[in-house]
Symmetry: none
Subunit: 277 residues, 2 copies
């Protein structure tokens, strides 16, 4: 019997061997099967107390399943928790540690696989960390605004571009602030009281985006912000602020989660319009 590589395997092994274990080891087994969170977080001493066995029994249990110590079992549970909820950064680090030169570092396919992995993770995080309330508020604001001005420069420009396209398809008066013809100021000055500004900006935050945010605040317009950190300079001006944890490969940040968020907003808005007309 090989040593278990993840929780599911371990649980299977425990169940299949349960009847052959000694009394104390059964106690441990049943605790291990029922208390995932405790295993991930508590110390051996605490776990031993909870399971009502001496600490050494835990180590014996681990060794009975071919581990070098109980800590390896705890690691298993930790990693599982991380995979369920973790920020992609944690994930990526784990990947790098556990998956050395498989596809070949720097090779295109390897890069693609890393991005795919990291994006997939970021998607999950986005879905779990975004609240219904934020979303509904944002959609509501979008649906009530006279005009919607969208700004996102440099890296964020493509996201802004897409959102503008999508909102137009939801029959919104959406305008992309692109600075075309050097007309940033002219475009910025259009924002009025019943309008809404949606800014997308990641570190390093573009000057113009921050300026628009200020201008919008002054004009009394509502604001939705999509950014990458709680302490983003934009967060201060926002009515609704989405902090998106994008994945990255080496130093290259992905965009996928932001794109997903933006598209979800547009589609949710489309649904809403449909139901109210």
């Amino acid at each position: 019997m090989p040593v278990a590589k993840n929780i599911v395997q371990l649980q299977q092994q425990i169940r299949s061997r349960y009847d052959d274990l000694s009394k104390r080891l059964q106690q441990v087994a049943s605790y291990v099967l029922d208390n995932n969170n405790s295993l991930a977080f508590d110390t051996i001493a605490v776990i031993a107390t909870q399971a009502d066995v001496p600490p050494s029994t835990l180590i014996r249990f681990a060794k009975a399943f071919e581990f070098s110590g109980f800590n390896e079992i705890k690691q298993l549970f930790r990693r599982d928790l991380i995979e369920e909820t973790a920020s992609y950064t944690d994930r990526a680090r784990l990947l790098k540690e556990h998956e050395p030169e498989q596809t070949g570092r720097g090779k295109p396919l390897h890069i693609l696989q890393q991005f795919a992995q990291v994006n997939s993770q970021a998607m999950h995080q986005l879905a779990t960390q975004t609240s219904q309330q934020q979303l509904e508020m944002a959609v509501d604001m979008l649906s009530k605004a006279d005009n919607i001005y969208i700004i996102g420069l440099r890296r964020s420009f493509s996201i802004a571009t897409y959102l503008t396209y999508a909102l137009r398809h939801a029959e919104c008066r959406a305008f992309l602030i692109d600075g075309l013809g050097g007309m940033f100021n002219e475009q910025l000055s259009m924002v009025g009281k019943n309008d809404l500004v949606l800014s997308i900006s990641f570190s390093p935050y573009a000057e113009e985006t921050v300026m628009l945010s200020k201008a919008a605040a002054k004009a009394g317009a509502q604001q939705i912000i999509i950014t990458d950190s709680q302490i983003s300079p934009l967060a201060a001006y926002s009515d609704v602020c989405f902090v998106v944890n994008e994945g990255k490969v080496d130093e290259f940040r992905s965009q996928s989660a932001s794109l997903c968020l933006v598209q979800s907003l547009a589609v949710a808005l489309a649904f809403k319009q449909e139901n109210t007309h």
Copy 2:
């Protein structure tokens, strides 16, 4: 100021005092705000490395916020994670059991979850169905081209936009064909023999994109195509053709997989340039 009793309180305190903190303490602050899971799981040594500060700074940070040590902060995040995962597991179970009206069909969060889900799958598919050979050939062609012309209209415009941005950062002569000022024909006619055209087009295929493809073929330029079907009208002209299977929610197609592909190409190219110079 009383000591924070939970994550939300702590985050508020950090944000409000951020500007008054020293440089290193700000580094820690920003890491603490953005890496919940790392804080729950990693040791001080690991966190210090990730935040790029010495361990002692973490303890100083904790003390600046009235904790007795950094471990108290870690406890805060652990407790929060336990609560969060418990409720997430519950929610996930409920979702599966009551599929229909639980999160609410058409509700923003439900839409976001669906998109996150299908995108995550699409990522996986992309990573497994794309071949090393295609990718390497594409990267090679990109690195050798005199000029790179990129076209993608309507829905694909944002992807084209992003690729242009990314290639410019990899020090490529990349040009976005955007039809600005009604100059499609003028832009198209620039394509020469040693140039490369990268077209992105999904059904329904934009006329201009197909035209460019033909023009490029006539001019003897190389072509990379990103599309959604083997029988796309573009596939015929391509030297390398990526068929991307995007996810969709109801009738709304996602874009994330294409974005991921495009970014991987750009990063792979950047790596290649770096290694050859």
